[in-house]
Symmetry: C2
Subunit: 727 residues, 2 copies
């Protein structure tokens, strides 16, 4: 605190300690005085008692005004930071600089501003007031304070540790740029996560669904436990060495393992997109990172809910453990259901109303329904962010097909902009927080331990899982892919948001500081090393399809930033073939029924026969797929457009049935059961015929899995049915 | 308060009055108990003292969680309200129901939900706490409360009048759905106002600029004074009758006059748009309502700042009055400058960077810069909403031309959606507030007086001003137009936001209630009566141009909601000709130089010669318009595209020069001064030549004043140079 400020504050307090109203009036301009109105109120200090109360009102108003002005300034700081980031990103894109991603840049600018705010601004004395109300031992969310007969309402902002009270009073500006942690979780994360779900490149995602689920669920759990246990060892070591000044339980370590297991390879994926790197690797990385965000949130809240009975509250307890597992499954499935249901409701609304004649209404409805998923899940005690993710996937799969062309681009662009702004805001806030956050606990041992632990945790999850997955996959995940996945374990927005959510205890503060440093390190170093790593690992990049000149032209005209939702990356199966050493024809000849894909195929046929026709204007008419006794219902649910599309669908569908083994599709008046293996299929048709049938089947798939209006980049090239294991 | 609640609360309080921690623990499930974790914590009531503090933390956490859940529910209520509104709007549009606008609908749904919340939900006891700290006589913005050694931070929410304290404790749910008034001003109004500026149909706006400015500035001031004085009479009357229970000063009456003078003919304009009613009337109404919002804000804050010196604080004081006028001018011009400067900076950035290759970056930058205008103005003590309006106009005039085609539609659609959501949110909140707002002061005398006053205020502003304007206008504002303008004096979002901003005093609460009722009445009755009124006043509607089949096809495919920014309404000068009884050719032949348009033409030529070339890629090269000595600067500022466009521009420009009287354009190597009146022009060219030249000149104008990519709906039709007085 500067001496002048102390004097000013002291004078202010001395004035307040006396009961008088008139004494306060001449001090008003000193305390709050600015500009015209202050001068006006000072000149009327001789006013009657009635007016002095008006003066007081004016003073409170002025204080609120000043506070509002400071809020504006701090928000302006962030906006100018983002503006600067955007302009520098443009410069980097323009000069094709790839070693630093926009998020890394945002962090650097945030750091610089943080340093300026921390060391460059004078400490200002706040008008805070300390009241001792020791008769109670709990805090209340609302406080009514009787100040000389007037009642003022106060809301609880949070607890402040006693040692920090002076710093609270001092660092007014630093506090102004510190946001409520819930802002990150409730305002900034949802658009990011929704956009991830909405822009999922579904064809490649579903083709690798099994592996993605394994990485996301098993992998995150493994990573969480390994990091948790390693960190517990580190904490024990710190206790021995005497580096630990407060409690740090095993559950805290597991919590750290959960929050730091959420990967966010945003910079790696941006470079993949720009260099047109392998699409299956892209799908694996993107799918894993999207789902493990959801897993990490639910996992961390399950760990917080782990409360063993009895005295020994932080030891292992089987009952509490299984309850935690139950909570995990309950929250996850509840959030999933919530998201899917809202998506389905939106699809039904957009199908059965003619809302597509009014793109503005349609877009607004889409936005509101997606947002209500979040709120609904939060209101029911589930996790809004997870619900929003699955809502996004459902919306992309069903609702998107019902939207008008204008609404499709509107919704995509709206969420793209929101995602972009939210992501860069979070990253620049991270940079800022390193210097302006006031509860940092830097512990070198813990930090070094954490870096080692996340490295080992990632390794223990990628390599063994890939080994087991390769046992079941026909098309193996090569060593170079495994190394790349190992390398791409960046931490980002989700880890930060989870860490900042609760920084009340010493252990959580240490975790927050460590998480911040891990995010910095991984985004800068790993993000910058992606391009050399790709070439070092011999992962093919820049693979373009010869038939897509127009798409290239478009691409060179409008360079994209971040994850591009509009285009599937060009399909590139070559790296797989290189790995396997098989020619394309022999690979196709080898296609056999795979056990692991059975469930997916069942789902696909259910989706195609029932869900798509019910929820969208595509697919076969329900009158043909549903049993006869629900004929009326089927007629009501089927949209007239489906009958118009009937002929081409029938043809494509029968193609589809013929080419795929063990898939029963009831269609038209006849039921066709195709049980032939692909070997017999190859025997029964010529190679040319197979090619033709294949490409028709792919069209069906593109329509079924891809977004409707995308350029079907796969046509005429060797593309495969999206069973995970076909190469 | 329900008896059960009282008992529960009483038990809770009794428990709290004792000092014990252990006593509190068994009560925890009673007070907060829900679900799994509460049961878990109850079962551990025998835990050690250390754990009891953990329990307390858990309890506070749970309370925060519960509060968060309630917040989610209340937000969800609004979102479902909006969803319902959207679906009903669709139904209405679909069935072509025109008697109720979407905003009126939103209010009705809001009312219904308000009634349910008010009378359908049980009063719940809050966990509020009353603390007496009578030693101080001022409230502080932040309070640190020491609760048994722990410090909690509270922020000031506002003052509560003593009589309302019980209702505060009771109506937890009602308080949850009550938003901070500043939300309306700082979050919901800016997108609405920016969108108004950005979607201004500039051709028609500039053609009627003089009249619009007169209505907005003079008209609002006249209306404010007349309403203020009439209401002062009403207040005096109420004092005599004994209906007034608290202070109500003359400045309060003037303040009411200011806030209620902001018209918002959103429903009228939507119907105009849908029926394709007269464009000049549309421009007059829209322009007036956009600008008088800005005037009303600044006027109301100037009236608040009116603080006469001496004892008699609420009497007239010339010095204070002129200071208020000075504040008005200062704030208005400051906000105007702020908005214009940010717009110009955005235009320069988008011109000199190649950001248009990255539409996402461009859109994000555009959004951030527009938002920073608001914050910058607020931080400097100006009015953010006014700054945002002029920023929108500047962005539409300059920046828009530099954006890529994709960004143009992105920015328009983004702000359209934001505008739509914000507007409908405000109107449904209004409906809700009628029942959930807890400080209503219904005074029948005041309300009736207000209705009479706004009627008289509007009449005293429209008819005399139109009379004086008609003296200067060649193309008169007919009686039917005047009646329609009189009729369209609806009050909407701006009046509500200004009224709810401060509801601390008795007078302000009475004003708020009255404003709410005025908005309801005008939106429902006047909004519903627009269509009959249009036909009764013989204002021509449904005027389509024969050459625009494609545009019509598009229109029938996508019906638009609200104010449509994409399309100019089809130009329709017929009603003017009908009024004047002149044929089109004689009207053109009569064109003469008009004094009133001199300033506008000066500005137009300055804009065309200097501003457009500096800020956009259009217009003549600066190297030709600037004097020779700033050649280097001119070369730097002129973009290469201008030279490419040089030939067509030269041709159009010379056409433009030939057709317009008294306009000097320096261009190319030669300076052409065209001083001929339009009479001499008609003499020198054939009628066909005149038609051709005319249409070329209109293209220049469309490019200069209209948005670049709009379908030039005027081509081939008789359109006039946008001087206010040409018919």
């Amino acid at each position: 605190m500067e001496p002048g400020d102390a004097a000013r504050l002291g004078r202010g307090r001395a004035a307040r300690a006396l009961p008088p109203r008139l004494l306060l009036l001449p001090l008003l301009p000193l305390l709050l005085g600015r500009g015209l109105r202050a001068a006006a109120s000072a000149s009327s200090s001789g006013a009657a008692a009635e007016d002095s109360s008006a003066m007081e009102e004016l003073a409170t108003e002025k204080e609120a005004e000043e506070s509002h002005r400071q809020d504006s300034v701090s928000l302006l700081t962030f906006i100018l930071l983002l503006t600067l980031t955007i302009l520098t990103i443009w410069l980097f894109k323009h000069r094709r600089v790839r070693f630093l991603h926009e998020t890394g840049l945002a962090m650097i600018y945030g750091l610089i501003v943080g340093v300026i705010l921390r060391y460059g601004t004078p400490a200002t004395g706040g008008h805070d007031k300390s009241v001792s109300c020791t008769q109670e031992d709990r805090a209340f969310s609302t406080l009514l304070v009787n100040v000389s007969g007037k009642f003022f309402e106060y809301t609880l902002k949070g607890e402040i540790s006693p040692g920090k009270i002076n710093s609270v009073e001092q660092n007014d500006i630093l506090r102004k740029v510190t946001f409520d942690p819930e802002v990150f979780f409730n305002i900034l994360l949802p658009p990011i996560i929704f956009h991830a779900g909405y822009s999922l490149k579904k064809r490649h995602f579903f083709r690798n669904l099994g592996s993605i689920l394994a990485y996301a669920f098993l992998g995150t759990a493994v990573s969480c436990f390994i990091i948790g246990n390693l960190m517990y060892g580190v904490v024990k070591l710190m206790k021995v060495v005497g580096q630990l000044s407060d409690k740090f339980y095993y559950t805290d370590c597991l919590f750290f393992g959960a929050i730091i297991s959420a990967t966010d390879p945003v910079t790696v994926l941006a470079i993949f997109n720009e260099l047109h790197a392998d699409v299956d690797l892209y799908a694996l990385l993107f799918g894993e990172s999207v789902l493990n965000d959801a897993v990490a949130i639910v996992l961390s809240s399950s760990i917080v809910a782990y409360q063993p009975a009895g005295l020994n509250t932080h030891a292992f307890d089987a009952a509490a453990f299984f309850k935690s597992v139950g909570i995990f499954l309950g929250i996850f499935s509840g959030s999933f259901t919530m998201g899917a249901v809202t998506g389905v409701v939106t699809a039904l609304i957009s199908k059965f109303t003619k809302l597509h004649c009014f793109p503005l209404l349609e877009t607004a409805l889409f936005f509101l329904m997606s947002w209500s998923t979040f709120l609904l899940a939060e209101a029911c005690g589930f996790t809004g962010v997870v619900a929003v993710l699955f809502c996004g996937i459902t919306q992309a799969h069903y609702t998107y097909n019902n939207l008008s062309v204008e609404s499709r681009s509107r919704t995509k662009q709206l969420f793209e902009v929101l995602h972009f702004l939210a992501e860069n805001f979070i990253f620049s806030y991270m940079g800022l927080a390193l210097f302006t956050f006031q509860k940092h606990v830097f512990s070198p041992v813990f930090i070094i331990g954490a870096f080692v632990a996340i490295f080992l945790g990632r390794a223990a999850h990628i390599y063994p899982l890939s080994f087991f997955l390769n046992l079941g996959r026909r098309h193996k995940i090569g060593w170079n892919f495994q190394h790349m996945m190992m390398f791409s374990g960046l931490r980002g927005a989700m880890a930060f948001a989870l860490a900042i959510r609760d920084t009340a205890s010493y252990a959580r503060q240490m975790m927050f500081t460590t998480t911040l440093l891990i995010v910095f390190f991984t985004v800068w170093i790993i993000g910058g090393g992606t391009t050399p790593m790709l070439s070092w690992l011999n992962i093919r990049v820049g693979v373009e399809e010869p038939s897509e000149e127009d798409q290239n032209a478009r691409r060179s005209q409008y360079f994209r930033v971040g994850v591009d939702p509009d285009q599937d990356p060009p399909p590139n199966n070559d790296s797989f073939q290189v790995l396997q050493g098989d020619g394309p024809d022999s690979a196709r000849g080898n296609r056999t029924k795979q056990e692991s894909a059975w469930l997916f195929r069942l789902w696909y046929s259910f989706d195609h026969n029932y869900l798509k026709p019910i929820l969208t204007h595509t697919g076969p008419p329900l009158t043909t797929t549903l049993p006869a006794w629900c004929g009326l219902l089927a007629r009501c649910l089927t949209s007239p457009q489906v009958y118009d599309n009937q002929e081409p669908l029938r043809e494509e569908d029968s193609d589809f049935i013929l080419t795929e083994g063990d898939l029963t599709l009831t269609y038209g008046d006849s039921t066709v059961t195709a049980n032939g293996s692909s070997g017999s299929h190859t025997a029964s048709t010529s190679l040319e015929g197979s090619r033709r049938t294949k490409s028709s089947s792919e069209e069906v798939l593109d329509r079924a899995l891809g977004m409707g209006d995308q350029p079907v980049s796969s046509r005429g090239t060797r593309l495969v049915f999206p069973l995970e294991d076909n190469a």
